[in-house]
């Protein structure tokens, strides 16, 4: 066999604020006891303790991952006019945590999700360049946008951009940040910048010299047409959710095709789906564990609430172990705030009802069945084979693993799957560079003329 094995890129997502993160019973006492220094047992991982972040990041680095990925929250979700209380909630500010993680890791890339709607280019470019310096060239920025007046209530502008403006602002934001990052010469001389555009008119001198990566790596998450185009024009990585091999291949081909329009080569944008995984000693064991995890993730309360998010009406009178409601969703409902409503609720409800009737599923079983995300479930050998297959078939360049436990959720993968990927010759056996761009095989941006 002469074909060069396609190399897999791996990243780790810190289990975030959502109902897929399985929570365990609390440790004794409040989490904020001052002076608490002793690390807790990993089994009692926290969404906020630095120990949990450090453990997961060190595990990812032990597994020679490309980067570690943090999400962002800017407003607590509400449901039925009250703060949603069933999911893991509360998280630190991502760039600050990543700067601290730079002290306990050496090579791992450090990716922060930061909203381009509720920040300004100068300030954010400065914070990201600082992270790139302080980590020795390991910074990445996952660009997200918001159209949400609900979130805007926490910010000066208060507002609200319509869907089209979100992306034009984000695109101009990234371009402006790059102008700032390029404004110092590599030999350490600042040059004044001036940017005039639709969203930003700014000028002056940037406060941070050119950082080790030139430009921190830019990640884009999302699947809309605008999102794909934005990624093709401006991102280094696209974070997707395409599950099946066929859907992944179609997405991969579409996005890579778009790059040519911007004079970019296919390998300049890495496609990395977010995936969950469950390992077992046998296939049956893994399936059994996966089913248990789904039951933990979708409690009876969570099942009803998920349904309410689609129906947009109070369904608290329904039995989660009973059939789906026979009423239609309210498509204009504001029942849920702070969570994106995917798709047309009437269509989703019809699909779920059909699924429920066909298989005779209760509300809770339907939610579990319908919401099952792409997962690799199986023995370490099977998971390694599947991952290699995805990448060899051009359905992905790698994966962002989303564990359901913190901080020990990556341990098994690193101990049991990574060595198998290495044996197959599809994953590195050592870091060969020091920066995230090195790990990803991405070019270093040249100096602007």
């Amino acid at each position: 066999m002469s074909r060069q094995h396609q190399q897999i890129h791996l990243a780790a997502h810190f289990p975030g604020v959502n109902n897929t993160t399985v929570w365990t019973v609390p440790p004794a006492g409040p989490t904020t006891t001052p002076g608490r220094c002793a690390p807790r047992s990993p089994a009692l991982g926290s969404q906020i303790d630095f120990d949990s972040f450090a453990h997961l990041a060190r595990t990812a680095e032990r597994g020679l991952f490309d980067f570690f990925f943090l999400a962002e929250g800017l407003r607590l979700r509400e449901h039925n006019g009250r703060i949603h209380d069933l999911d893991v909630v509360g998280r630190p500010e991502s760039i600050t945590v990543l700067n601290a993680l730079a002290a306990v890791t050496e090579r791992l890339g450090l990716a922060a999700t930061v909203n381009a709607t509720f920040n300004e280019p100068y300030e954010l470019a400065r914070r990201l360049a600082s992270l790139d310096h302080l980590s020795g060239g390991r910074a990445a920025w996952n660009v997200v946008t918001s159209s949400d007046a609900f979130t805007g209530e926490n910010f000066r502008r208060g507002g609200f951009l319509d869907r089209a403006d979100r992306y034009t602002r984000a695109a101009e934001f990234v371009a402006t940040a790059r102008e700032l990052w390029d404004s110092w010469t590599p030999d350490g001389t600042p040059r004044p910048f001036a940017h005039t555009g639709r969203h930003f008119t700014i000028d002056g001198e940037f406060g941070v010299p050119r950082s080790p990566q030139g430009h921190p790596v830019v990640i884009q998450a999302g699947d809309s047409d605008e999102g794909r185009e934005f990624a093709a024009s401006a991102a280094d990585i696209i974070f997707t959710r395409h599950g099946s091999l066929e859907a992944g291949r179609a997405f991969y081909a579409d996005v890579k095709r778009r790059l040519a329009r911007y004079g970019r080569a296919p390998e300049e944008l890495k496609i990395m789906p977010g995936v969950t995984l469950v390992l077992g000693d046998t296939a049956a064991d893994a399936q059994e564990k996966a089913a248990e995890i789904r039951l933990q993730q979708v409690s009876p309360q969570t099942a009803l609430l998920t349904l309410e998010q689609i129906w947009g009406v109070d369904l608290s009178g329904y039995d989660p172990d009973g059939p789906l409601p026979d009423i239609d969703p309210d498509p204009d409902s504001q029942l849920t705030q702070g969570r994106v409503r995917h798709g047309d609720p009437l269509a989703v409800a019809a699909k779920w009802r059909a699924l429920s009737e066909e298989k005779g599923l209760s509300i809770r079983q339907t939610v579990i069945e319908a919401n099952g995300r792409q997962s690799f479930i199986g023995t370490p050998e099977a998971v390694a084979a599947q991952m290699a297959e995805f990448v060899a078939a051009d359905a992905a360049d790698g994966f962002i693993l989303v564990p359901h436990l913190t901080p020990g959720g990556l341990d098994d993968f690193v101990d049991r799957v990574v060595p198998l990927l290495q044996e197959r010759g599809v994953f590195r056996t050592a870091y060969t560079g020091t920066t995230l761009r090195d790990h990803l095989g991405l070019p270093f941006p040249g100096e602007r003329g």
Partner: protein, 367 residues
Amino acid sequence: MSVPTGTLHLAAAIDGDGRYQAPYYVELARLAEEGMLDFITLDDTFGPPGPGRGRLDALAALARVAPATGRIGLVPTVTTTHTEPFHVSSAVATLDWVSRGRAGWRVEVSATEAEARLVGRRPAAPAGELWAEAGEVADVVARLWDSWEDDAEIRDTATGRFIDRDKLHYVDFEGAHFSVRGPAIVPRPPQGHPVVAVAATDPVTWQTAARHADVVYLRATSPEEAGRIRDELRRRAVAHGREARALTVLASVAVDLADGEGAPGTGPAVNAPVALTDTPGGPPLYRGGPAGLAELITGWHTADAVDGFHITPVAPRHDLERFVNGTVALLQHRGLFRTFYPGATLRGHLGLSRPASRYALEREAAR
């Protein structure tokens, strides 16, 4: 010689314009920690520190330092004029989480047109207006820190509830320049309130300092002048319903230990009168040897003019090293300064108690 009335507090700037690599900051922070200093500060501005010069984000640099140190307080300057108060609250709370209760922030404004043009969102404004706004930012930031009660996270398996939403609170802050709904995204930080510092070196800052600060640096060249300013700041704090002792007042001194007392018999005599030189735009300057500086600190502290000193080494590596190994060692020898950290949090070092969440108190009172 009268006995000083309070514990002596010492802090040092580790500023490093033109320093972009983590080991520089870690080395200086560890040096200050060997000297048992209460905290280190790192200065910042929204724009570049000067024409052709660069500087890293101070909070970022001290977050990088946090896991590499164990006890010392970490106080970056964070500006309030062009930033989002919600982001400021989250970042400082997160610094407190990653340092396990050692965070503070020095509130600063951006007054220049050049800084305003870097954002393009609003024009420059007079300092008085900016400091009033900075006070509002400090206020809403503290409210956001209180917006999660300490025991809001319950993980109640019986009801499936992760949090008790009755213990999360909207802050509903309406200021002249911004409004914030809340609650915070970051759970209440380990110290409850990370320490708030204000450089009250200009009277325009005094009102904000007296109302919101835990630590104040003042600018004075004599203990008499320092004592007068401290009295004025305390008087204003009391007028805002605070305890006079809630303010820890430090004298700012730039320190040049480049010469003097290098070896026995060299440099100015140890017993020579110690004086500060007034310098325009910066803190008063001490130039001399480490023992002379110990004399000065002892004298001011004994006169009960200030609660301690915030020193800015002129050459950070050199002067901080001489300060720790010379001045601090002498003060420790005289029993004026601690020889170990009895606690682990910055509030602990400063003798400040951990505040309860105002919303928890309100809920308690309404019962």
